[in-house]
Symmetry: C2
């Protein structure tokens, strides 16, 4: 068997012991809060049927779905015929297909875009390969990797509708896969961490999601973060106000970018999309509304007084705020942000986004209400609302703010080091005593130099070492070394136990 280089696919990651402890700490903290609010965990398979996923994420999303090759003889006559047919069409069109690889082409195409001959030689075949690949893919691949947790959840709800208690409150923490071009902070495999409730239109759910964000992020040690809230119906009201109710999507896409491109940029984009100067003059004061949440709502009530849907949105936000007055928010600032739009078109009511104010980082969470999640699987009109924690970003924030605890009760607490075989035998009953007391303990097998054993304790950040040599065996008093302070003392096993228990 030829040697193979030890490597992993680009955009994927190994998680070593330290990262795992930290990731588990984040997930466990969030899970505990989800459970406190009555959310139950489910898991769905890594692979879904390709047709479950296709068409749910737009054309661009479809291209980013990882497809799994059918097992066995995926190439049969039907596939071959189709490959032949399409290839023949290309031949007929007189297109010469060179041996071109995707990456090369994208590089070259940038250089050659203005050169028509080269463009035809390279881009045309490229387009045809793309067409061919798109057409053949579903014929040789029936399954695909989960792209998000939302569509599998919708599929789950419909498939298990007879077992489910409504309202169904579920959380799900699993990896998802996207064939995105990998870059710093963007991976092809990453975890999503979602909670959703379907079958309840009460705004209590929205209010509790604010509480869940507040409680989980507070437990994780964040001290300054903002939960932004808006309502799609208010945005619809604004679109009505400026007389362009049909252009709600263009409008939201543009104002969603206010943070990044500024007011001028938003105006420019809207003008390009066909809004006129007069309309922008109506829009501007609305999205720039200042004051506290109540002041903003009061102004909005007047501004949108002629829009039924706008007033409905205001009423919903009002209700959420009134719930929140009775809940005790610990840390979060809750802010009505009329520029918050969130790209996803399936949102229909309240929308959320969470930002930390302590580190430069995009949103660390978001979500909203949708009115028809399961329609795509034949069950219409089921309302839902959900949120998501951006676990990878939260990890980076906690690392930057040094909020990961240095000590870790989950790892080995004591390493027993011995000088030889007799000491090893002597050590085993001591090992038993410590483990029986639920103290994570290792015995370094005899045969290694003491220096190597100490290095092992250091590398694994084990806080205490028990050293056993001839003296210790004779006296029964063991040397306990505190690896941080370097302090060393001779104690009976009972004293060691008491000392460690008091620390833990």
């Amino acid at each position: 068997m030829a040697n193979v280089k030890a490597a992993i696919p680009k955009g994927t990651r190994d998680f070593g012991p330290v990262e795992m402890i930290r990731r588990n700490y984040i997930f466990d903290t969030i899970k505990k809060v989800f459970k406190k609010y009555g959310y139950q965990e489910i898991q769905t398979p890594t692979m879904e049927n390709l047709d479950t996923l296709t068409g749910k994420y737009g054309d661009e999303g479809d291209q980013l779905i990882f497809k799994v090759l059918n097992s066995g003889d995926f190439l049969n006559q039907k596939v071959l015929d189709q490959v032949g047919l399409i290839t023949q069409q290309l031949d007929t069109a007189g297109i010469e297909l060179g041996d071109i690889r995707d990456d090369d082409t994208e590089m070259r195409s940038i250089k050659l875009l203005n050169n028509e001959k080269s463009f035809n030689n390279i881009m045309k075949p490229m387009e045809h390969y793309r067409t061919l690949s798109k057409k053949i893919a579903p014929q040789i691949s029936e399954k695909a990797l989960r792209y998000d947790l939302t569509v599998p959840f919708a599929r789950y709800v419909v498939m298990h509708q007879n077992e489910i208690t409504s309202p169904f409150k579920r959380f799900q923490i699993q990896p998802v896969w996207r064939a995105d071009r990998p870059q710093k902070g963007r991976y092809r495999e990453f975890y999503q961490c979602d909670a959703d409730v379907v079958g309840s239109d009460s705004l209590l759910n929205e209010a509790e999601f604010v509480c869940i964000y507040d409680e989980a992020l507070t437990h994780l040690g964040l001290k300054d973060f903002t939960i932004k809230i808006n309502n799609r119906k208010i945005l619809s009201g604004i679109a009505e106000l400026i007389g362009k109710p049909d252009m709600i999507i263009d409008l939201t896409v543009a104002i969603d970018k206010l943070d990044k491109i500024g007011l001028d940029g938003v105006e420019k984009e809207l003008l390009e999309k066909g809004f006129d100067k007069k309309e922008l003059d109506i829009l501007k004061p609305v999205i720039l509304l200042s004051g506290n949440n109540q002041e903003k709502l009061n102004s909005l009530k007047e501004i949108l007084s002629n829009s039924m849907i706008g007033l409905k949105g205001i009423e919903e936000i009002d209700k959420v705020f009134s719930y929140l007055q009775n809940f005790s928010i610990r840390t979060a600032k809750v802010e009505l942000d009329l520029t918050l739009a969130r790209g996803l078109n399936y949102y229909t009511g309240c929308i959320f986004e969470v930002k930390t104010n302590e580190a430069a980082m995009g949103s660390i969470g978001g979500g909203g209400r949708y009115d028809d999640l399961t329609g795509m699987f034949g069950k219409e009109g089921l309302t839902g609302v959900g949120i998501s924690f951006g676990a990878d970003r939260i990890y980076d924030v906690l690392e930057e703010l040094q909020l990961f605890s240095a000590s870790n009760q989950q790892s080995t607490q004591v390493l027993i080091c011995v000088f030889g075989e007799a000491e090893e035998a002597f050590a085993i009953p001591i090992l038993n005593i410590l483990r029986t007391a639920e103290i994570n303990t290792e015995l370094f097998p005899f045969g290694a130099k003491m220096k190597k054993q100490m290095q092992y304790a250091n590398d694994k950040q084990i806080p205490f070492v028990v050293i056993i040599g001839g003296d210790e065996m004779q006296s029964g008093l063991l040397s306990l070394k505190n690896m941080e302070s370097g302090e060393q003392e001779k104690l009976s096993i009972q004293e060691i136990l008491t000392k460690l228990k008091n620390l833990g």
Copy 2:
């Protein structure tokens, strides 16, 4: 968007709330024990490079690896040329390729195997599709789904050798995927749960793995299980004894089946493999050795007195047993089983297998020592030993023995039911108090009939319901209903808190 049937790929599973609690309970119990013994968690990516996996699991295994289609334009001229070339070869060979699907063919081939013409018409093209698929697959797929945790672990050790503290004790609990034909109890996605240590040849590790099995399975509630232990070197010694050292694999494969096919079956298989009657007469008393472990070892020492490797194996087992005398085994019977062989050829020392004696179930765990795990990635001579828990089977055993606890502190403990909007507002501070006391509590949003709310509590197996109506608001005494006993009493929130805390 056309409606799609809500379904999942065959051989995969959704895990609902109850299953998740039970699965997490199993994994958490095992994890806790792994950690107690100094094992650290790692995770590797779902996708590995295809060449990392290919050739590690035999030809049959290679066919069962799920391959991921390259993203983007996976079909390029190189692939097309090759498809064309192979198809042309088939044409030249005069083979007519009909539109044949894999499943059909296997069915038909059984019926038609004796009909030469049909065989040629169907099986020949099939073979060619197989050849074609095998050749094209690696050209359109660079990545594949993890097939087990062992090869990714070996890859991890080599890739991260400079960060790793030796001996490296890791555990890993992640799903793996195999394109096996699904059947009862065999899935295409299932979890493996492995612990391994590399870089230490001490038999203390073997002894501790016995302790880990004992402790974890005891915690899970099993009361009667056997950890079988053997040593590959003893099996080699036996092969030497009968003068067929080169046929160790045929020998072990056959005696591994003693349980299933009986002594006659084993003898029959060995005769077919080329062993003769005289050799079997030597073998028989050895594998049928009776007595306790020490008696068996004593007999073996005499029988294998001329086999260096056999004696080495006996010495290793002896040492493990002597360690185990100092450890306190709680529940397990530890048994030297000379017929235990375990199929995998990479084992070189001690091997383990765990069986429950309370339920009819195959092995619920196994493992052993291997001397060169990482050689395939260019790092030779690293010794390791590891074990695996069969989580799905353990789940089935616990279910059969009714060992899953009925009560579950992780789920919602209290549901607050209200008659109307005023009661809902009144309930929120109570909700806060219970949650602040770390009691998982839900408030059913107002608007639903009391019967529906009670049904919700029943379905979710919520043990307590607090009912708030007009009376309760006036008196401040809330109705607490025990959902199991049906008992109902009026208590202040403080009394409720005390009561629930005492139960928890």
